[in-house]
Symmetry: D3
Subunit: 314 residues, 6 copies
Amino acid sequence: MKYINELREGENIIEHYLCKSRQSMKSRNGKTYLSLKLQDKTGIVDAKVWELNNDIQSFQENDFIKVDAFVTTFNNDLQLNVKRIRRSREGEYDPADYIPSTEKNIEEMYQQLMAYIKTIKSPYIKKMLEEIFLRHPVISKEFKYHSAAKAMHHSYRGGLVEHTLSVTQLCEFLAPRYRFVDRDILIASAMLHDVGKVMELSDFPVNDYTDDGQLLGHLMIGAELIADTAAKIEGFPKRLETLLKHCMISHHGEFEYGSPKLPSTIEAFLLHCADNLDAKTNMIEDMLAADHTPGHWVGYHRMLQRNLCRSDYE
Amino acid sequence: MKYINELREGENIIEHYLCKSRQSMKSRNGKTYLSLKLQDKTGIVDAKVWELNNDIQSFQENDFIKVDAFVTTFNNDLQLNVKRIRRSREGEYDPADYIPSTEKNIEEMYQQLMAYIKTIKSPYIKKMLEEIFLRHPVISKEFKYHSAAKAMHHSYRGGLVEHTLSVTQLCEFLAPRYRFVDRDILIASAMLHDVGKVMELSDFPVNDYTDDGQLLGHLMIGAELIADTAAKIEGFPKRLETLLKHCMISHHGEFEYGSPKLPSTIEAFLLHCADNLDAKTNMIEDMLAADHTPGHWVGYHRMLQRNLCRSDYE
Amino acid sequence: MKYINELREGENIIEHYLCKSRQSMKSRNGKTYLSLKLQDKTGIVDAKVWELNNDIQSFQENDFIKVDAFVTTFNNDLQLNVKRIRRSREGEYDPADYIPSTEKNIEEMYQQLMAYIKTIKSPYIKKMLEEIFLRHPVISKEFKYHSAAKAMHHSYRGGLVEHTLSVTQLCEFLAPRYRFVDRDILIASAMLHDVGKVMELSDFPVNDYTDDGQLLGHLMIGAELIADTAAKIEGFPKRLETLLKHCMISHHGEFEYGSPKLPSTIEAFLLHCADNLDAKTNMIEDMLAADHTPGHWVGYHRMLQRNLCRSDYE
Amino acid sequence: MKYINELREGENIIEHYLCKSRQSMKSRNGKTYLSLKLQDKTGIVDAKVWELNNDIQSFQENDFIKVDAFVTTFNNDLQLNVKRIRRSREGEYDPADYIPSTEKNIEEMYQQLMAYIKTIKSPYIKKMLEEIFLRHPVISKEFKYHSAAKAMHHSYRGGLVEHTLSVTQLCEFLAPRYRFVDRDILIASAMLHDVGKVMELSDFPVNDYTDDGQLLGHLMIGAELIADTAAKIEGFPKRLETLLKHCMISHHGEFEYGSPKLPSTIEAFLLHCADNLDAKTNMIEDMLAADHTPGHWVGYHRMLQRNLCRSDYE
Amino acid sequence: MKYINELREGENIIEHYLCKSRQSMKSRNGKTYLSLKLQDKTGIVDAKVWELNNDIQSFQENDFIKVDAFVTTFNNDLQLNVKRIRRSREGEYDPADYIPSTEKNIEEMYQQLMAYIKTIKSPYIKKMLEEIFLRHPVISKEFKYHSAAKAMHHSYRGGLVEHTLSVTQLCEFLAPRYRFVDRDILIASAMLHDVGKVMELSDFPVNDYTDDGQLLGHLMIGAELIADTAAKIEGFPKRLETLLKHCMISHHGEFEYGSPKLPSTIEAFLLHCADNLDAKTNMIEDMLAADHTPGHWVGYHRMLQRNLCRSDYE
Amino acid sequence: MKYINELREGENIIEHYLCKSRQSMKSRNGKTYLSLKLQDKTGIVDAKVWELNNDIQSFQENDFIKVDAFVTTFNNDLQLNVKRIRRSREGEYDPADYIPSTEKNIEEMYQQLMAYIKTIKSPYIKKMLEEIFLRHPVISKEFKYHSAAKAMHHSYRGGLVEHTLSVTQLCEFLAPRYRFVDRDILIASAMLHDVGKVMELSDFPVNDYTDDGQLLGHLMIGAELIADTAAKIEGFPKRLETLLKHCMISHHGEFEYGSPKLPSTIEAFLLHCADNLDAKTNMIEDMLAADHTPGHWVGYHRMLQRNLCRSDYE
């Protein structure tokens, strides 16, 4: 397959892409044309269909399409001048090619993460993790392949399990290093901390906030999940439920990032640090990986509000 | 009864008070004495028991006690020199005298508030309000007499119903004045907005934050209550549940005041305005009412971060 | 009349519009053309005049013009390709069609607002209101039809009286509900709070900040108006003047919104709440009314810094 | 005279002081005594009158009194044990000894400041300065000896003229150094910038905020003074009045310091810089002057939120 | 020479400019063209080379080029349609025409600044200034012609010496006006405060941040320079070195502007005020000077976050 | 030895303590007495010497003293009524008993930390670490036993090595987990990040900020140390020096915590996270360890601005 990040000006290509958006437009001289945005897992490219015929009725947004096109440049960006276009047929393309995905082995990461459940000593917490990860109708199916964000960090297929595993491993490293830490609570909170994102964000290829996501957020959704699950487990200690919900709702660490409470227990604080470290370092990695310009500086990171710089020397 | 705000230097009194705190101390010359804080609904006064005998074994903190004492002054504050002291017996005192209470008729306010339930058109919302206010094991009993805060505003018996009624009436006034407002959602959210305080704050005479209160807060507790109640009502629309929970968790209006989401619907925004207006104006009223010094200025309000001034003129 | 929000691609129209801006430009191939912005009360549209002849000398910015044009699309926005254009003649158009205006009855709202003057008990305050609203050379004429803002809220003809009436009615509702409130001061301050906008903002069709508006602001202008009017009323109590000026200058409620003092009296605080509630809720209404896209979410509100959402369910 | 900052433990003194506060108190053993705060221009000291007789009826707060007392120590602070006390008689004391005062020559500074009026070229501005400084019934009398603040900076007799002169001299230095500066506006604004403090702060010995001071502030009072004075001067250009008022209300430079507008003209900006520099540097000088402890560090300055340090070396 | 700010639509020009950027682009119809940005000391203009021939191989970015072009307009901006282009030859142009430069006499300002060295009484400080300004291999050569910023203030050739002189003169004015000021420290700190910019910013024509500039900043670079220089001067008092470094690192005055310490000495505070005043006033001057639109208002200043206004009246 | 945290009311003790402060005071009845603060590694206690004799001439602040005293209570705190007192003689006490100290093995931690030097691959960085830790005249001697802060975290003997080791271990864990990380830079920066505290804070028993500490801070001191050491190592790459200094000055992570630059490299960011996590978690541990009150809540943490809570349940 010819990926979008491999296209070069002047080429003719015949390839399948995902059509993310489609608009009718009129040029200055009154001619109607189609403006599309095509996507695969390596990027996005604009395409223009200047000659409209019946084929353009065959597809809609979020369909896969087949294009025969010439690669040109407009305002410094590549653009496809489409000669022929039609909807792709099932089997002509592999969906995995069109969705950005972690480079790590999802299955392996998922097994590593699930293996932590067996290390939990509290029967109540262990039961809760099993209920949520193994038996919850949505989470047991979707957690493994979900992304961890729309655009910030780990915003690709498998990003949620990658981030969750990383935070959990970091918490395991930290648990024995500080006094007063309840390892069960810390590990369970790490595993659960972003589980609400399965409901907050719809899955690929849409990968956008759901209504519940925007109106409530994954902290609230996660806390409710803990409450509902605890209610199903006989004898689940009320205070333990509260401690787990506290870790959940406080893990953003600051009011302005949407935590209604600041971390007040040592587990809640460590979880916040681990989550923050992994999420932001992933952003830095992504920006360093994406940059191919000469020079040490790789540009301004809007979320982190600073320019980022490579550390090579000599 | 001789209320604490009626005590005058030089008097001898024999009266029953609530003992809020009790500490053994030693004076400079090595003598042990008891230092107490006594409370009734009008205020708090220090008391010292210089001569200790067996009677002091008869009571503990949060007991009612009977004192025979002389009213003196120390560092500008009144102080009781206790001559005799013992635990009060049931029937010797009326608990209502010892707990600060709204000056309005609690029963009447409660009836007015409950009457709003009948005005709700949505059968789902009406059912939810009935479940919570009339059938919830704790709320149906404790809501009526609860305070709305530990120290900020409406921090007295009946304060919760007083504040809730005021916010609901204000929302009723506002509902028809703006377009796009769903009156049912607004009124129900107003009635429910602080219901979580019944669990967040323990009741008088303790009136302090519970563990859940500090670790989760009444917004989270309230949202969970909505979720649990909706789960019990057949066919309760999922999105309606989300909209009500959004009003609940966003009603503090700002991240820094513990709302994990800003008000995004018109009802959520109006509820926030009404709540904020009533709570803060009650603080101003309290400070104006408490001040008896000459001059227009009544002092610095720590929460509002400003000096407050009476508006009399001429 | 064919309003701008009724134009559809592909139509030919002959209509009068207000010309808000006019610029000569040169296309890539060196040809000069005219670029115009045309406005009526429903919106704004770009227009291009490709063939220039003597008619284009007949009009200037802020003139009404008559166009014969074809409706096309450029970059997703409608655009008029103008074939013929000339200045409109008096009588060919109704100015009211070109200025955004409240949908409510201005005359009726104005009468309702003025009726409050009679309810004031203090002869001094009543006199001040009469002086300002009925006898001030500018305000008595312009207040009724003025807008309340350039772009924020109530930014249309009659918006000032609509907002002022709404704030005054809300204050009337609030006045008897809290202790220590001087109703005269509260109602008068509500009526006067934005009166300085008559001088801060020039009238339609320009509707932009005046020099005084930008250098001093309507709070200062309003306070000076109170001072000047009080000076004309014999025996006007000095402290009453101060209290009214305090309500005026503190009604934005926060330093960062340009209030040099925070509300320190209960009337000043209530006025601030009522103003804030009405202004911001109007912004939300406007955004909900303007949106016609599918889905609950209506977009990001820059001033309120959040996404807004409709509350429909089922 | 024996000044308060010269008192030493163990001395007996007979001296006149200003009685700033007076309270009756009762000691633990039930004895009533008087607690006073005595002041002269060098400081404040506590005094206790243990033996009460008729003499204590002879004086009130803000009276001058004569004491015969023994200097002792309590909690590290000096304290006067008063043996005899009575009200001072006119002529027994010189008021100037009891009010903190600038160390510079007030008369000379005042003449220097007034001399600037003659350097103004605009007849309108010159007239305004004459009206305010030479003919205003209150300012012409009180400006010269007033303090510039209650506690912050230049909070002593003559402090207002000292600060105003310093700011004006700095502005004179700056005026020719930057392009586009209207010297008349800058000098006049410097002279006038704190003139409203004459009304905002009552004079010594009280030196506290007036009602107008707290409800309006000296920026508003000053702007109103400019407006009233301009109204009296025939032909005073309206825009010049606006520019002067803009300098006045924006000279605190930030919203949070009570300026409703940020400096938008070059004169307003320079005035703000000069005022800020002189006021804060005066605070630093005061703290350096007051410190007599060994070591370079002189303590934490609450307003400036930092520790201050002397620059001596070697 | 025909400067860029003198170009008018419709002219043919033959002139030399500095080529700041150069990109190959392809038009919609597939034709390749060159897009250039040309600069002289008065501004920047876009240029397009539609007909490509061998001459375009003759130059690169940051070369001087000679163009024969027609001045046209695109999207309201001037644009050069280049007919012929080639690299300029040495001697055909004067580099001084292409770099924005102070309007004042650089040599004279530099002499004035250096003359301050002789006024320093401390032999150690005088030695340090001589070492840095007269003998440092880079600073002694580059300081005189350097700019003081990339874009903010004094961002032109000679801007560094202009700003440094102005701050030093202001400090000299201030030194005798406040008590406790060590003039030597204040003058030396003023002279040195931005010396690190010689290393932080590369020189014209590039005038961009160096790596060290971005990773360390001119405060750190300056402090290190003081340390290194003090190490070379025998007997340099350790505490004096600390005091000078403190002035250096605190001169931005606020943490958020990159000062790791707030000014704690009176010299550090005065230096900060003088630097802030001169830098910001220069920004205001620049904006007033650049504006040629009618009306008093000259636009919104992003750094100062406000609209700026001329003070003309009548 | 009888440690201060083992004292009980009513006991007579004869023991050696460190005298941290000493003041002469006078009681109300005019009698002079000595007020002392005595310290050992477990805490601080007040002591009063009512009967003064020649022995009190024998000691000063920061001397060790021997007291014969009776343990009493004043305002809820223990207090020593001293009967006899004299300066301790060398050998009568073990200094280690009087200085709060880490509970871990300092020697072992120090060896573990130094062992990291051998793992560094870059010869330049390895050389720098050897120069600083093994050969620097002050650091090689004092680093091992120094505290990491005056009061915040790890504010005890050995605290610096404990904190540094913990941060370094965390960085070692993180280094291989993220892409683009230069392990040498990260480990070296972790080892060096607080080394400037050896100069910023004087050693026990004083443990207070030095002048350099307050005027420059340990970030600046540390950066200068890197610069000086690099200058001594032939061929030390200039950019490597800059990268190490950037990690040093940015490790506080925010401007408001005194970092003049935000972390811009991935090593700088990871170091900041690790430092922040370890420092704050240590504060939480300390507060949990110090609390012996019943109930889950252990009080308000001023630095972290929140109440802290134990996680025990059931």
